[in-house]
Amino acid sequence: MNPVPDYDPLVFGETALRLRTYRQQILGSNLANADTPGFRAKDVNFAAALREQLEGQAYGSRVPLTLTSSGHMPSSTYRPGMPTQLFRTSAQPTMDGNTVDLDIERSHFAENVTKTEAQMRFLAGAFRSRVNAMTPDGR
């Protein structure tokens, strides 16, 4: 595993926020489908997805190409996709095959809302410090 690189706060903030809002959308879908027969609750592994995307942006593609000619281009382009959706395992099976547990979903939802909001503040702070650096005499 690569060492965790020094992140540009803007890159980190953008990546984390994108994943947070993506997760928000998935958790919202779970709540919306709480009464849908056969619906299986989904989630993403946030920590793994964040690490993968940051590493991808820092080190390029996970699949390095061997360059044997000066004309070859390195495979450094990394296009961040969306993380894999995983199915939640349910503790209490239901008759209609729905695996949404409202207590679990609600707590994850609240957690994700709070962390998204925190991430937005961090990002706003990163922007503010750059703006300050560009302003002469601290005006």
């Binding site: 919202g28 919306a32 009464d35 619906f39 409202l102």
Partner: protein, 135 residues
């Protein structure tokens, strides 16, 4: 933008749950309806939900797939003096089970509230995202 589609997902759920509440209200209103002039009785209606994928990957909304009628037997009551009574003195009422409907109604209204809260959260986060570059 994922937050916008969170709003859309919550709105599909609000729509589906309010349709469910409508059928429940209609069932409760007709709990004591007798057969109409053609001999058809009111039958309890049930909504069937299904998942509908949204434009954004990973977002799953919900919609009412169909409204099905319950095929439970009609409630027959012996009332010989009733204008709708048949030859043997029985009156057929609708097959609505009020207790079942009440439970269904509580579930629908809780789901509605929950999705309304999800919508509010998404709205607040969007509002917050506008402040990233402000001030």
């Amino acid at each position: 933008m994922s937050l916008i589609s969170s709003l859309h997902v919550a709105s599909t759920a609000l729509h589906a749950q309010s349709l469910r509440l409508n059928t429940i209200a209609s069932n409760l209103a007709n709990a004591d309806s007798t057969v109409d002039t053609y001999g058809n009785a009111y039958r309890a209606k049930n909504t069937v939900f299904r998942t509908v994928p949204m434009e954004n990957m990973g977002a799953d909304g919900v919609e009412v797939m169909s409204v099905s009628e319950s095929n439970a037997p009609l409630r027959r009551v012996y009332e010989p003096g009733h204008p709708k009574a048949d030859e043997s003195g029985f009156v057929s009422y609708s097959n609505v089970n009020p207790v079942e409907e009440m439970v269904n109604m509580i579930s629908a209204s809780r789901s509605y509230q929950m999705n309304l809260e999800a919508m509010n959260s998404a709205r607040e986060l969007l509002q917050r995202s506008l402040d990233i570059l402000g001030t």
